[in-house]
Point group: D2
Chain length 358, copies 4
């Protein structure tokens, strides 16, 4: 399947490729050989270099209730990735063959009310790559040209592969103005971890991170948190109140756990702001009177990334020296995907990268 070099420096595209596929409505994935897709009008074909595994992929792997309700096998998965444009469809002006690109996983319609209002990230007809259409844990992937963000030369391929989740972190941290503000981050998964150096780069006055796993707290400290709190060992909200003299100006809720969400509300000061990114798996009981209404707190649900402001912000932050590499703790070839998912199941890993070799 090695493409042969051509005179023009471009490759002759192969017709078959390896892909990581949910082949049947059951747990697990398989590597299978499938046809290389063709880009339609406004689409591009990207030769994938590396991908990041997301919690969403783990849900599909396990084939839990959410996955069963949403994903229709056979489906190639993977939506965090980086690669090179291998071919372009008709009418593509945004990128060209040979461009290094990172993938935006949200495919949007461009004309629903939300798209018309500059809020395409919550498009009414949203499709997610690797969930609702074939994804990027494969040698090639097809997507709209606009979803292939041209990478600045300063950005390494491996970082390009995690710009989709970095975009979640940047969108959350920069959804309110945090310069000089105290910021608490509840939950140090990869997105929470990346929010730490992003907050530092934006001039936060103090960055506090909480989690319940010592390994993640160590990563948090390494990524620049001023204070880390083990929420299993001490009352996190009370500690944040003390450290900030009455509550954090801004809380970024990245855990999705009921305890983390309640800590977020108790940790924020009167008049403060809470960004909710972590997805709880069930309804959560909240003390709205004391923690939201009397305190005049603002909560904001955060989904995806701003199209395309967040991509520009990420590019600038990375060019300016933002270092999120420590969040990547493992790199494995696509073929060792079982091992990669086992690492995530075990809960000790940061971001796990799959490399897709020709």
């Amino acid at each position: 399947m090695q493409p042969a070099p051509t005179r023009a420096g471009l490759a002759v595209l192969p017709t078959r490729m390896r892909a990581l596929v949910k082949t049947a409505p059951a747990p697990g994935f398989e590597i299978v050989e499938v046809a290389v897709p063709s880009p339609g009008r406004g689409e591009v074909l990207v030769r994938v270099a590396a991908g990041g595994i997301c919690g969403t992929d783990l849900h599909i792997f396990r084939w839990d209730a959410w996955a069963r309700s949403r994903v229709r096998p056979p489906r190639t998965i993977g939506h965090e990735f980086c690669g090179t444009v291998a071919a372009v469809g008709e009418g593509v002006v945004e990128v060209a063959v040979g461009d290094r690109v990172a993938g935006e996983s949200h495919v949007v319609c461009g004309w629903c009310p939300r798209c018309r209002h500059g809020q395409a990230h919550i498009c009414d007809r949203l499709e997610i790559i690797g969930v609702d259409r074939d994804g990027a844990f494969a040698e090639y992937v097809v997507m709209p040209a606009r979803n292939a963000w041209r990478l600045d030369p300063a950005i390494r391929t491996e970082i390009g592969a995690i710009m989709d989740p970095l975009g979640n972190a940047v969108h959350t941290a920069l959804a309110t103005d945090i310069t000089t503000r105290t910021v608490a981050i509840t939950g140090c998964g990869p997105i929470g971890l990346m929010a730490i150096p992003v907050s530092r780069a934006a001039g936060a006055g103090l960055v506090i991170a909480t989690d319940v796993r010592p390994g993640r707290l160590a990563l948090a400290r390494g990524l620049g948190a001023d204070v880390v709190i083990d929420a299993s060992a001490e009352p996190a909200a009370e500690r944040i109140q003390e450290l900030t003299g009455g509550g954090a100006d801004v809380v970024l809720e990245m855990s999705g756990h009921p305890a983390g969400i309640r800590d977020a509300l108790r940790a924020v000061r009167s008049g403060g702001w809470v960004g909710l990114l972590g997805l709880p798996s069930a309804p959560v009981e909240l003390d709205l009177a004391d923690q939201v209404i009397f305190k005049a707190v603002r909560l904001e649900g955060i989904f995806g990334r701003r199209l395309w402001q967040t991509w520009e912000q990420m590019t600038t932050l990375l060019r300016r020296g933002l270092d999120v590499a420590p969040v990547i703790t493992h790199r494995l070839p696509l073929e060792r995907f079982e091992e990669a998912f086992a690492l995530l199941e075990a809960g000790g890993a940061g971001k796990v990268i799959l490399t897709i070799e020709p």
Copy 2:
């Protein structure tokens, strides 16, 4: 206790007065004779003309858990009121003897972090008139001069008596820009009802109101709601979704009921805004993933009124013709307070006014 006119046109102040007092830590109130208070530095003495009964007064009347934890008898109650400045303390420049004034119930410190940031309505050292200090269901009340808002001549005394709760309605409705937006109001107590003509005056594109009591829905229609929904008879959120083509741009949650709050979240569109004013008496279970995070909804806890922007906004709205008089359904002299509280207990009343005659 009738003050005698004096040469300067001012009254000789009496030394004793009638007041509605929580005399003991038990349900009920009593009318007792107490000393007329003296205004200290920066304070004014107001001759009260009329007061509005608030849900908070009912909590104190019933002596429920919240009241027991907060109020220390003996305490004169009442915090919605209107009257005339009868005397001023040293250093008062804001109002003068003879000015008609309405009361702002929140007494603020002026120098805590929130006060310093222009958010005095959530002052760290907040005291509420009629709760934490003696109130206005009495012939006279003392308060800081700034809490006595000079009434525009166009505003009738009875409307002046309910500017404190009208301020809640205005603060909530104008906390986000609602011009041309679809607005749903969940809960038609007096504040929810007043939010209807306020939303109309601000140019809302559609105003929908929900409640479970037919009497309140009739008032809502009379106050200008385009559509009223009986949430006990039809699924309110689904109806709002239909009427607005996918969800209201803005929801004003005025019920404080778990069902109302959940309707509010289900009724708001993706990217919409929910103002939370109604106070739930216990924690509320919310589907944050589907109703807040995936929808990128913003929630904002609303407390009190902006000091002093809301007062200026109210003045302008009332001068421009805002009519909230229909929300006043009963007027009784102070002496018939038992009857007034019974009306509120029965749940059929709108706003009940107590008149305080000399």
Copy 3:
């Protein structure tokens, strides 16, 4: 050139049509017969019913310096219009044949930095219909499907023909929150006039309009201005200061005249906001220190209309009863264009409509 009805209720399209064309680099226009254009991919062909004459058209008519630098004859002019979709190109999903539509004159690229940021109205590759590409003072016009805004049935054709300039008025008036605010409008051309009822609909606390022509001031009064000021007879800024107790909260500068712009700055209060829409023909000398910096005033240049929020706002306002019809003072068939332009030259007209009959 009357199209014949067909079985499907649609018309067989003619191949030739009348159009108002700048035929040569010199003053004036001519009605000539030209080919009916064909809609390309993503485009629509609109059968024009009526058009509004804009100041821009007058510049092209006169062939002034700006027109000479921008317009390349032969060019069909006209960019304010309303009609019916007669044919659609490939890939069009936004509208269908038979839809009544109003035209957005700004054709945008969709992928420059401004378009990517939800600010398409200042697209880097902006083309204006009737200026940079053939326009709508013709029987038919071709444009991107998105520029053909489907008209709500409640909106009359003649109002549809002036939604482009109404959009300027709405964009300016709603660019800041004006509910309960005092608003002064300097300059009562058609856009300034339409801003009056828009400001009223949004709940402005007071609406003051200034101009130097008695006819326009009469129109302003008829459209709902609380106060009109003849700036040729009295000092407008001082009068506005008096009426507002220290300056208007918001000033909408619609004149483009140096005197009007200076009045706008002197009339706005400290901390207030000025929207600049009127286009001065030369640099203007401003007292920035006293009128902008010491007063901490915000100025905002306003161009075009927000794509597509302004169109939704207009639709809602018109459905809610916004009446801008009085601004239309003359209606003439296309053939009488010389008369129409003479009316505008004379300065006494409001909006002049050209009707395009089959």
Copy 4:
């Protein structure tokens, strides 16, 4: 005049002191002996340690048109300063004797419309220390307690002495969100220079500084500007356009020169923001059509500092390591004031500090 220590550790206050005074309506100042003032209700007496000379002081020194119209001799001048609270008047709760404090020069009324709206920095009854009331180039100065901002122990006295102008820089740079944005600063006087590290600390994507004096450009580079442009040697606006790919997102106008202001407008991108702080001495001719309206640019007049958010922001920035010390180029005792003003007249100095020794 050395105060004698007392048992309580406090000093016995002297009755006479040295002060730098505009003694007569003519150019120059004199050091004279005057009475030590007494703090009234709500006021404090501060023992001054050091002061910074501002351009305003130079205007008063020269006795130019502005100074003649505003200042009434005899007047002690100086409004940038740092010291220790020596005595407090009745009712002071904000600071205590012995506290190190920096001075906010704007004395505000607290109850005008602007003060009531959280915009006290543009108070209608503003008085400036050292201009409208006696100032701080003296051994002692009296001012409202709130104008004495308690210094964080991490802040050196000399930096405390320039927090008033640092506050101008912080207020301007943080008046819009600059994180990841390109920022151009036109004019590298002390405030422009301090805006450079402030912009860097807030995560600006690129910081460009312009001036016409090589010494200031060297300081700008030392303070962290990514690019410096000598506007006397190259076309500054064009260079900024090139470096930013179409214009800076944000321009901070710090020069007050017509050329600098015009460069600011030409350098900002479409949809960008310009903060105007530098005070032009005469009206300035601006191309509003091309540079503001067609570009939909926002301009904001910046005056003073936000009370009191800017002081908190400064404190956080300085604690986080913001280094503005390089802007201080000279330190002289009060007695050598003639020399200090000569340095400023010569134009080569950064900030000049006067030390006030007991």
